[in-house]
Symmetry: C2
Subunit: 249 residues, 2 copies
């Protein structure tokens, strides 16, 4: 606290002190997409290019200010729809970020911003909406979750750290909660579900043990359909019949 007014930017700090902090909502939207580099699907997320300073031209999480007549979650859904055209079924609050120096480049004064960040999981069908979608599509693009911003001078604001935190939360939650289905379609094979786990956790899983564990979950019901078209024995399709969204955290 005592170092707060020290340093070359003291004038900016005291200037900012006059303004009340403003509130913004951002969202980390995870989708599983096949990656050319790796043979297996990996985690991707849509980012929007900044058209204004600060960080003009750099990539940032979709988001915007909080309107006065909507709840936090409604604001997240609206911003998502407006900026990327997505309407994810799974949406949960991640964290409120309120550090002092996150709204501007170091040394440039601007208003203090507190961001309430949500995270979402979308299916491939939902993710396609983005590709065909909006007019401003050239300013929205998918990036790999683990490397977004790497060779481009980094992401805007503290969004790289926010994504890393969201990745950590996704991994933690996947291990004890039933959320992997939100990456997949209505029906899926156990191998597809295992690919989700492997992509998120970053390590291979034993197919036999994975099958045994998942079969003990009553919410995963086998259908009488099989996935045709593969080169080999067609796998059975399963369906998730549990609640669409689990309780918070």
């Amino acid at each position: 606290m005592s170092t707060l007014f020290a340093g070359p930017f003291g004038a900016n700090v005291s200037e900012r002190a006059q303004l009340p902090p403003s509130l913004a909502i951002s969202t980390v939207i995870f989708a599983l997409k096949p990656s050319r580099d790796v043979g297996k699907p990996t985690l991707w997320l849509p980012l929007v290019r900044r058209v204004k300073e600060p960080f003009k031209g750099q990539w940032a999480l979709p988001g915007g200010p909080l309107a006065a007549t909507e709840s936090l979650e409604d604001a997240a859904r609206r911003n998502l729809r407006e900026t990327t055209g997505l309407a994810p079924e799974y949406l949960e609050q991640l964290y409120a970020f309120g550090g002092l120096n996150r709204a501007h480049r170091p040394g440039q004064g601007s208003q203090r911003v507190v961001s309430i960040v949500y995270w979402a999981l979308v299916r491939p069908t939902e993710a396609e909406l983005l590709v065909e979608g909006e007019a401003e599509a050239e300013n929205v693009a998918w990036h790999r979750a683990d490397t977004a911003g790497d060779g481009e001078g980094g992401l805007a604001f503290d969004h790289r750290e926010i994504i890393d935190y969201a990745l950590w939360r996704l991994r933690s939650k996947l291990e004890y909660a039933q959320i992997a289905y939100h990456f997949l379609g209505e029906t899926f094979t156990l191998a597809q579900l295992r690919e989700v786990y492997e992509a998120v956790l970053g390590r291979p899983l034993d197919p036999a043990n994975f099958r045994r564990q998942l079969k003990s979950v009553p919410q995963i019901e086998p259908t009488d359909q099989f996935l045709e078209g593969g080169k080999h024995r067609p796998p059975r399709l399963y369906r998730y019949t549990g609640p669409a969204q689990r309780s918070t955290t």
Copy 2:
């Protein structure tokens, strides 16, 4: 969304729509205190009495507005110190609450408030500061966490729901993280630690199994001291040597 402007309070809603949402910080402070009703220690928390409308005279979580030059966590610590005199060593963000109708009694218009809520665990020695402490002590009092506000027309705002959510988070986190020590002093017996778990989880635990599990945690080191003064065989005192605060969530 379509029902937002319906109903008898539409005028208030549109009035609020002109104002930007304001930001507040509140904190749920848990302490373990012996309870007269039950023989065992139970969870308590300090509440402050509202001196202004809305909810004047009712009990509320300690908190206040966010100053422009402090981080969210600093704001939580400052509000805590000012309202209750407490300086907890364990402090973590709980959730950001931003529903439309949480800042006022139903039917009374007022500005929209978004609250970022922190939760804290304090030791008995820290908790005593409150008793002797501040001048406005008559407006600060300890309440049982599970029943606070029950026979008094309820707590102010949505604070009863916030406390219930914090209780749920505390129970969840206790089961997989090393946080129970923050309720205890520098050294403690395994029976005391077990009492913390039993009070938080609300169920008895087998002393033998609890001992075996805790002994497999290297951060819990036995001292060569024993707790004298009991009526029976003196138990060994242990010390927690891990990091003071674990990573977020």
